[in-house]
Symmetry: C2
């Protein structure tokens, strides 16, 4: 990695995990934490994962070759505006947001033409937040999706690719629009559903709620984990990927209504046929090495694919 100094704006789960990757694999790089919370800045220094930390974001990016925006997607535009005057000529800016079109639209107008923006999204996370929650292995064997713009120079794309390869991720290149649609289905809808079902349970009468928590291992528990994710981060994702999310929620609602109708009319055959189809999808997920027979909710470590970059460079 050819970075002498890297600034990470936002030292939460993702930002602090990237810092740990750089500390481990690229210890010569000077690491700067930019975070609007003084408490987070103090923690970043105390944890030894930043050489310098500042709540002044414009100052924090000065002299950096790489700037990573690891803030909720709704904050990317405002942060880009704040850091723009401090950016070094030739700096590469990247982000980690779960929405790409809205982030590109919000960030690009603020950036000077002597820097390059490479939008990216590591598909990794836990339900925990904050600088203490991070760890260097978070991205190991997971996908990092890079959604370059038509005008992005190849050498800037390569720098961001190398960052994610160092983190142990498998690289995928995608159009921003397609990224937002795929993520709406695989990530945003599941989170919305989980938040809703846990919300429905939290509205129950107290005596019933106590039993729901007690017997949560029968299915509900898995949803509570997803629904414990960072509230501000997810608020921003839904607001910024509105069109794709609403389209897929609509499809889901129609399908749920069909299920309700089958239950009401006692149409067992329709239910059984549907359940047999969904079982086949699980097999495909396991075949795609995105889940494991013995550890059903973990990714088996994927074989790194160094050819991903070469393929992209050649296209």
């Amino acid at each position: 990695m050819a970075f002498n100094q890297v600034t990470i704006i936002g030292f939460g789960l993702i930002g602090s995990s990237i810092a740990r990757v750089l500390r481990r694999d690229h210890p010569v790089a000077r690491l700067v934490c930019g975070d609007i919370s003084q408490e987070v800045c103090d923690k970043a220094l105390a944890l030894g994962i930043a050489d310098e930390a500042s709540t002044d974001l414009t100052a924090a990016v000065q002299g950096s070759d790489l700037v990573v925006l690891a803030v909720p997607v709704g904050a990317c535009g405002p942060v880009a505006q704040i850091i723009a005057p401090g950016l070094k000529k030739g700096a590469v800016i990247t982000d980690v947001g779960s929405v790409k079109q809205a982030v590109i639209a919000a960030v690009m107008p603020h950036l000077p033409d002597y820097v390059d923006f490479v939008p990216a999204h590591p598909i990794a996370g836990t339900e925990h937040s904050g600088p203490e929650a991070g760890f260097a292995e978070l991205f190991q064997g997971r996908w990092a999706i890079i959604t370059p713009l038509p005008e992005t120079p190849l050498n800037a794309i390569e720098k961001v690719t190398k960052l994610w390869e160092a983190a142990g991720s498998n690289i995928e290149f995608m159009e921003p629009r397609r990224h937002d649609l795929v993520l709406a289905i695989t990530s945003h809808l599941p989170h919305l559903i989980a938040y809703t079902i846990v919300g429905t349970a939290s509205d129950l009468e107290d005596h019933l709620k106590a039993d729901v928590i007690k017997f949560s291992a029968s299915g509900f528990r898995d949803f509570t984990r997803i629904a414990a994710s960072d509230p501000v981060m997810w608020r921003d994702i839904f607001i910024n990927n509105q069109d794709a999310v609403l389209e897929i929620v609509q499809r889901f609602t129609e399908d749920l209504t069909g299920m309700q109708r089958a239950i009401r009319w006692g149409d067992g055959q329709a239910l059984q046929d549907m359940f047999a189809r969904t079982r086949a999808i699980r097999r495909q997920v396991i075949d795609a090495k995105q889940a494991d027979y013995r550890y059903p909710n973990q990714s088996p470590a994927l074989v790194p694919q160094p050819e991903a970059l070469r393929k992209a460079s050649g296209s």
Copy 2:
């Protein structure tokens, strides 16, 4: 345990796991497998978890002190009718179904008055099915809910309680009606939602479906696991717990519509408030030892509660 001979009807994941518990803890008991599938009977014998196996269910229960119905809930009534003529005087009959009121209503009319029925439900399972999928530790540290009838003699309840204590389960006594309501929320709704969301994805255009499977680790994957559960078992659960499931699906749909509206109108505050509330529920689930910080989808082994039976006996 005071059983000389035990018959388990249905040698799937649950039935074969109970057989393994008995083999381990009560090797003197003669174990009989009753299953309408000759293939399953052959496997039960080959696996060494039954001394005898028969597709003739009436014959299979003859001479047994305990008969466990480990079949889909819709099959409990018909099976009770078939086995009734073979039941020994004083035998205890129990089941493992995820619905209690409908099973009680279907089973009771068929049983002779010289046997006792103790409805029960071990809250344990995996997404795998069949006699090879079972294992003796499946019930360890999990809840076993027993829903006795007012007329059930205490000594019959005690026998079933001892079976589940041997399996390592924690015993809870509950009214059948309340069981069905609590399970509708904690288990049946989550499964219905998971089946629906995976079904929605399986209707996507092929090129999109491939990407959804590829990037399923971002949330969707957890739903595919739940949606891989046995189709016939779940068909029967929804049909037989219709009222409670439809009531809770209705509440869920209203809440989801509220979420949709907040997204459409860009009401970030409403979303953030909801997401902060659901995070609190997760903490309660962890506090109740139904999930663990480091292994988020596993129950930490719970301390066995031998006082549960004594409390129930005293009431």
